[in-house]
């Protein structure tokens, strides 16, 4: 008889700039090696994933990351009493810190996670990425971390355009003049706070790599994907798995150097002369993670197995030319369900 696991998943916002939660669940559901009861953890009542009852069995709202670890732990304890959770898979950058901090306490409660160490998590932070690249010999664009507008103004005469203005968690704007850079600074600061990252613009082809590390330096799975269609927010709306040993090697080296535990996404810019620049490292599965399962390397299911203590052998093959095309779908629900989640925090 197969073991039934109770798995909680966050990031159910399957919107135009989606979180990976729904794709993670879809991949887990496809794995025949275990049965699962999926618990959705949501921040907002209109995250589409919580109304997808064929994927999510039950949803609980959790406090925003800004509420800190104590309120999150209290809520998770309550959910655990109801559901007897085996595993939590977080999927938002902004919540990772809290979940990593709570890892040991969750373990004591009997809840597993499969997350990077805090130092691994912090080393790849956008504001430290350049140093990280220098240390491990990765190509990373030059950057400058700005804590106030005055610093940007000081640089005005020496700036080379275009330049990329990035928020500490999300959003990136390409600025072609100082005025545009200042406007982007204000807009990004209003949304994500300080610091703002000013990054060298690298021209090339955008490649994303989904990778899964075992925490001991071994890459269990690496799938490179080229975006075929990009939304105005820079998100892939369609993409294709590609075969490039250089990219696979880059991800393998990253996992080996960091001893990364869990899923991650490397955002790479491949220049016309073939140099792969790491533009960003996201410390969680990407929204297109289901493509890894479709291409023959089910990363979410492998993470579940490793989190449950199973030894997983590295994959060594995947299907090249597998394409995903995202689509929008009007999911219909009723006011009762909306009331349950927004009023009671459960659905």
């Amino acid at each position: 008889m197969k073991r039934k696991l109770v798995i909680a998943v966050t990031a159910l916002n399957a919107i135009d700039s989606p979180g990976p939660g729904v794709a993670v669940i879809r991949a887990i559901r496809e794995c025949d090696d275990f049965e699962s009861r999926i618990i959705g953890l949501s921040y907002e009542a209109l995250e589409p994933g919580l109304y997808m009852h064929d994927l999510v069995d039950k949803t609980y709202q959790i406090p925003y990351p800004s509420g800190g670890t104590e309120s999150l732990l209290t809520r998770l304890q309550y959910i655990h009493e109801q559901e007897n959770l085996d595993l939590i898979i977080p999927g938002f950058d902004a919540e990772m810190f809290n979940f990593i901090k709570l890892r040991d306490k969750l373990w004591q409660l009997g809840i597993s996670t499969f997350l990077p160490e805090l130092n691994q998590f912090e080393a790849r932070d956008k504001i430290k990425l350049f140093d990280f690249g220098q240390k491990h010999g990765f190509l990373v664009p030059q950057d400058k971390i700005l804590y106030e507008l005055r610093e940007l103004k000081k640089m005005a005469d020496n700036m080379e355009f275009p330049i990329v203005v990035k928020g500490k968690f999300y959003d990136a704007v390409i600025a072609y003049s100082y005025d545009q850079a200042e406007k982007a600074f204000h807009k990004t600061m209003a949304k994500w706070g300080l610091p703002i990252i000013l990054q060298e613009f690298i021209k090339g082809t955008e490649i994303n790599i989904a990778a899964l590390g075992d925490g001991e330096g071994k890459a269990i799975s690496i799938i490179p994907m080229r975006k075929l269609y990009i939304t105005d927010k820079g998100k892939a709306w369609a993409g294709i798995t590609i075969e490039d040993d250089k990219l696979v090697e880059l991800a393998r080296k990253f996992i080996e150097a960091t001893k990364w535990r869990g899923g991650c996404e490397l955002e790479v810019m491949l220049t016309d002369d073939g140099k792969p620049y790491i533009m960003e490292v996201n410390p969680r599965f990407p929204a297109w993670i289901y493509l890894t399962a479709a291409a023959g390397q089910n990363q979410p299911a492998s993470l579940v197995k490793m989190a449950m203590g199973e030894k997983v052998e590295p994959f060594n093959e995947y299907e090249v030319g597998k394409i995903f095309i995202r689509y929008a779908w009007d999911l219909i629900t009723n006011i009762k369900e909306f009331q349950m989640i927004s009023g009671n925090g459960e659905l």
Partner: protein
């Protein structure tokens, strides 16, 4: 001139470059030329064969073939 080893070519002349994710479709003549390139035929042999099979000015075809192969190189289809 050789088609790169990893390039997938369908019978209909649809090309897929697995290293970049790029795909291209060609017309019938393009497809024939690619088939001949895959057989390691030289441009001279390709020109001979096409000119035998079609009513085409040799000089004009040579120029078109040059352009076509330059495009294939540009797209990293040819080595």
């Amino acid at each position: 001139m050789r088609i790169r080893k990893n390039i997938a070519v369908s019978e209909e002349g649809f090309l897929f470059n697995p290293a970049t994710g790029d795909s291209f479709s060609t017309n019938g003549i393009g497809s024939e030329i690619i088939r001949m390139l895959k057989q390691d035929k030289s441009t001279h042999e390709i020109t001979d064969e096409i000119c035998r099979g079609y009513d085409v000015d040799r000089l004009l075809f040579e120029r078109d073939l040059d352009e076509f192969t330059a495009l294939l190189k540009d797209y990293s289809i040819l080595e």
